[in-house]
C-alpha cells in the first residue's frame, strides 16, 4: 500500500491499481492530481466510487487493492467512472488456484519492535493479566458474576498487577446433543479461554449435574505451571451462597500470586492479532480495512500472527484467498469450510449471498470480488499460511484465516479462544464492541462516526477520506497502537468496561 493522492479528492489503494476512489462527490471536468500526473474526470463520480487512472481495453483486468476485481465490459479510458456500466466478471475470474498470488512482504528495516508482555511458563505471551472464571454451563453464570462483582472498583487497588476478574458466562452447557459438533465447538471455546495467556489465574466453576462437565473442559488441557487454577461446583459446595463465598476466597488466594507477574520486553512477533469488522459502511473497504491491512502485513513481515475471520464476508470470492495460500492443503481447507457453510445456511433456512446489495452498489461497489476484497483488505496482502476451525488454537506463524460467522461477538470469541491477544475492529456505523480478556482496538471508517461516538473509537481512519492521512500512515499508526495496547495502554472499550457480555460462543445444533 502506498500514499493516496492527498488533498486531490481521490484515494489510491495500491500503486498497481487501475482505479482510484473519489473521496467526495467529483464533477465531470474536475482535475485531480496523481503524483506528478493530472487526470481530468470524464464523468460525474460520487463519493466512494471508482475512477479509472489508466486505459483498460474491453476484456482487460481492472485492479483495485492490487488485485483484479473483474474485467472491462467495454473499453475504459482514464478519467471514466468505473461501475456496472463498464465493469463485470467472467466465470474464469473465479477459478480456484492455489498459491498463484503469493507475495513477498518487504523486509522490516531498523530495530525490531517490541512490546511489554506477560511471558507465561509455556512460552505463550499475554497482553493482559486477568483472573478468569470459566463456567461450564449457564447454571453457574450468576454465581460466577457474583464472585467477579466482589472484585470490581477499589477491591483490586492492592493488586495493581492484576487487570481484573472476568466472569465468562454463556447460555449453553446442557440441553445440547452430546458428541455433536455444537458440543465440540463449545468445549473448544471454553478450553481456549481457560488456556488463554491473558489469564494469570483461572477459577473453573460448574453446577455439578450439567452435560458439559468441568472434567471435559480440562481433560488433557496443558495449562502453564505459573497459572493458578482452582475448580468447584455449586452442588459440591452446597449451594449458591457457599459457592460464592468459596469462589471469592479462591480468587483472594490467587491475587497475590497472579499480582506478582511482571511485564517484560517481548519481540512483536509474539503477538496474535485478531481482525474483525462490524457495522461496515461504504468506506470500510477504502479507509479502515486497508489501513488495518497495512498493520497486519507489518506484523506478519516480522514473523507475527494475524488472523482474518468472518467466512460469510469472504463467501463467493474465496478463490482470492486460495490464490494466496502457501499450499494446496491450506487452500483446500478453506474451500472445505466454505462448502460446510453452504450446508449450514441452507439448514438454517437462509442462503449465503455476498453479492453487492443495491445499497452497496449505490456506495460504489460493483462486483462480489470488490466487495469481498474490501473485507479481506483487513488481512493485507500476506500469504495465507493456515486455516483454522472456530476456536482452534492459532499455533502457526504468519497470516491465517479462522472460520467464524460474521456476527461480531461470536466471531471475536472464536478468535480469542484461538489465542488472539489483541483484536482490531473496524466499524462504519458505530459498533461498541469489546472482548475481555483481550483488548479490542476500534477503528472508525469515517470522521463523522469518530466525531459522533468519540468515547467508543480508538483510531479514526476517516482522516484518509478527509485527505488528512494516508492508508500507509494510518496503518503504521494502528501498528504502533497495537504495540502500546499490548504493553498495557487501555482501549476505549476497556475504559468503558465492555467485554464480559460479549463472550458469545458459537451455538450450533439443537437445544434439547
Amino acid at each position: 500500500m502506498t500514499d493516496p493522492a492527498l488533498a486531490t479528492g481521490v484515494i489510491r489503494l495500491d500503486p498497481e491499481d487501475d482505479v482510484v476512489l473519489a473521496a467526495r462527490d467529483l464533477a465531470a471536468g474536475s482535475e485531480v492530481a496523481l503524483g506528478d500526473v493530472r487526470l481530468t474526470l470524464l464523468d460525474d463520480v460520487p463519493s466512494g466510487h471508482k475512477v479509472a487512472v489508466t486505459d483498460v481495453p474491453e476484456g482487460g483486468q481492472v485492479r483495485k487493492y492490487g488485485q483484479s476485481i473483474g474485467r472491462a465490459t467495454r473499453g475504459i479510458r482514464a478519467g471514466d467512472h468505473v461501475h456496472t456500466q463498464n465493469l463485470g466478471m467472467v466465470e474464469e475470474d473465479r477459478h480456484h488456484e492455489f498459491g498463484s498470488a503469493r507475495v513477498t512482504l518487504p523486509e522490516p528495516a531498523g530495530e525490531r519492535p517490541t512490546f511489554l508482555g506477560y511471558r507465561r511458563s509455556d512460552r505463550r505471551v499475554g497482553t493482559r493479566n486477568y483472573i478468569g472464571i470459566v463456567t461450564s454451563v449457564n447454571c453457574s453464570a450468576t454465581a460466577a458474576r457474583l464472585i467477579a462483582d466482589q472484585f470490581r472498583g477499589p477491591a483490586l487497588d492492592a493488586f495493581p498487577g492484576v487487570d481484573g476478574v472476568v466472569a465468562l458466562v454463556h447460555q449453553s452447557g446442557c440441553g445440547l446433543v452430546g458428541e455433536s459438533e455444537g458440543a465440540q465447538v463449545l468445549l473448544r471455546t471454553l478450553r481456549g479461554y481457560a488456556a488463554h495467556p491473558n489469564f494469570g489465574g483461572i477459577l473453573l466453576l460448574g453446577l455439578g449435574c450439567e452435560m458439559l462437565q468441568l472434567d471435559l473442559v480440562t481433560a488433557d488441557l496443558e495449562l502453564p505451571d505459573d497459572v493458578v487454577v482452582e475448580r468447584m461446583t455449586i452442588q459440591g459446595e452446597g449451594g449458591t451462597r457457599a459457592t460464592v463465598t468459596a469462589g471469592v476466597e479462591a480468587v483472594r488466594r490467587m491475587l497475590p500470586v497472579v499480582g506478582e507477574r511482571r511485564r517484560e520486553p517481548i519481540d512483536a512477533s509474539e503477538l496474535v492479532l485478531g481482525l474483525n469488522c462490524g457495522g461496515s459502511d461504504g468506506y470500510s473497504g477504502i479507509t479502515a480495512n486497508p489501513a488495518l491491512g497495512v498493520a497486519s502485513d507489518l506484523l506478519v513481515a516480522l514473523g507475527g500472527r494475524s488472523v482474518l475471520a468472518e467466512t460469510p464476508e469472504v463467501y463467493g470470492a474465496e478463490h482470492l484467498l486460495t490464490r494466496r495460500a502457501v499450499s494446496e492443503e491450506v487452500g483446500t481447507r478453506l474451500l472445505d469450510r466454505i462448502e460446510w457453510w453452504r450446508r449450514y445456511t441452507a439448514d438454517g433456512g437462509g442462503s449465503l449471498d455476498n453479492n453487492p446489495s443495491p445499497g452497496n452498489k449505490a456506495g460504489g461497489l460493483t462486483t462480489i470480488l470488490e466487495k469481498s476484497l474490501g473485507a479481506v483488505a483487513k488481512g493485507g496482502r500476506a500469504d495465507l499460511s493456515h486455516v483454522y476451525e472456530y476456536a482452534e488454537r492459532i499455533d502457526g506463524r504468519g497470516f491465517s484465516f479462522m472460520d467464524t460467522p460474521g456476527y461480531d461477538p461470536v466471531s471475536v470469541t472464536g478468535l480469542v479462544a484461538g489465542g488472539a491477544t489483541v483484536v482490531c475492529f473496524t466499524t462504519g456505523r458505530g459498533s461498541v464492541f469489546g472482548c475481555q480478556p483481550t483488548p479490542s482496538i476500534k477503528i472508525a471508517t469515517n470522521s463523522a462516526l469518530a466525531r459522533s461516538m468519540p468515547d467508543d473509537i480508538d483510531v479514526n481512519a476517516g482522516r484518509i477520506l478527509d485527505g488528512d492521512a494516508t492508508v500507509a500512515g494510518v496503518g503504521q499508526e494502528i501498528f504502533d497502537l497495537i504495540l502500546r495496547v499490548a504493553s498495557g495502554e487501555k482501549t476505549v472499550s476497556e475504559e468503558l468496561g465492555i467485554g464480559q457480555d460479549e463472550f458469545v460462543p458459537w451455538q450450533l445444533g439443537a437445544v434439547t
Copy 2:
C-alpha cells in the same frame, strides 16, 4: 391424588393405581399397610421401585398416576415387584386419541383464594413491579448492564414499591437470517418480556444498526397505558457513555411513577403458573412432580392458568396428553410440534429418545409411558386446554402446554415471555435456577438435597419419601406458597439475586 400410606415404607400416588412405590429398600416378606389392608411383599423391592397392590392378569393394564403405564407381560400378584420382568407396552397403548382421558377437577370449596398483585391497565396482573431494560441485540448488552448496575443495593431505598431494574441481555439480534423461524422466535420472546405484567416500566435499548431493530420489537405491541416506556439507541445517543447517562436518567424518571403502583387483592385465577424441572432424579416422579401437579390442579380448578413445557420430556408419550385435550384441534397442535421436533433434532445431529435409560431402569422406571408421566405429573390431571408455541402469549385459561426445549433457562424464558408470573421448578440434583422478573419456587425431590443446598430450595418434597408428608399435603403447601410469593414473599433465588443471566431466548437457525 390422595394420601400415600404413611410410615409404611410405600407411596401411593393415586387411589386407582395398581402399584405403589417403595420409599426405601424393602425385603421380601416385609408387610406394608395400605389403609386397612396389609400387603406381604413377595420380592425384594429397591427404593423407588413399584410393588403391585392388586393382582393383574397377563395383558391387563397396570396403572400408576391413575393412568396406564403398560400391560402385564405375565400374571402379576399383589406383592410382586413390578418391573421389566412383568411389565411392558403393546403398540395399541400408544394410539392417539383426543379427549378420551378428560377429567372433572373437584369444585374448590370455601372462600376463593386471593393474592396481592399489580393490576395493570390492560387487566393483566403482575406479581412483581420491576423496571426492565429490553435489549434488541448483544451489542447493547453492556450498556444495559451498566445502567441496571446503578440501581443495585441502596439506590432503590427511596422506592420500596419497585422490585429492581432488570437488564435483559442476550447473545443474538444480529447475524441471523431475517424472516427465519429463529428471528421470529427471538422477536416473540423480546416482545413477550416487554409486555410482561411484572414490569411497571420498560427501557428499550438498541445499538442502531442491528438486524433486529427496536421498531420490530414494538410494532403493534400494545403495552398498558400505565407502563412507562422509553427507548434509545447507542448510535443515536452518541456512544456508550452518553447512552448509560441517558439510560440512567430515563430510569430515574420512571422510578417515582412506577414506585406508585400498589398491590391489591386479586383472585387466584389471575395467576399464570409456569411448570418446569431441572436436574431430575429417580424421585422426581414420585415426590416433587406429583405434589406440584396437585398445586397445578388446584389453580386450574379455580380457573387459573398453568403451563407445562419441555417437549423432549413428553416425547414418545405425547398421546397421554392428547387424550387429555379438550379438542382434536388442541391435540393435533401438540402432535404437529412433536413432528417439528423430530426434524429439528435430526437436523441438529441428534435424535429424541425419551426411553428410560439404564440409570432410569435401575431407579425403577420401566416404560417410556411411566417416565413421561413422571415428568407430566407436574401438570396434574387437568384437561389440556391450549398448546402454545415458544414464547407465545398464554391467553387462555386452564391447563396448557408450551413447546420448549427441556433445557431450563431456555424453557423458562419461553414461559415467562408467554406471561408466566410465578414459576415452580422441581429438582433432584440441585438446580439453582431463578428468572427475573418472575419469581421461581424451587422444590427438592429428596431431603438429602434440601439439607445439602438449603439456601437454594424453597420446598422440600422429599418429606413425602421420608413418610413425613403426603403428596396432597405438599401440593397444598406449594399452592399456598405460590399465593404468598405472588403477593411479594421472596423466593430463595430472589434473595440470592439469580435471574438476569438466566434470560436465554431459544436460539434457532444459523448464525451468519
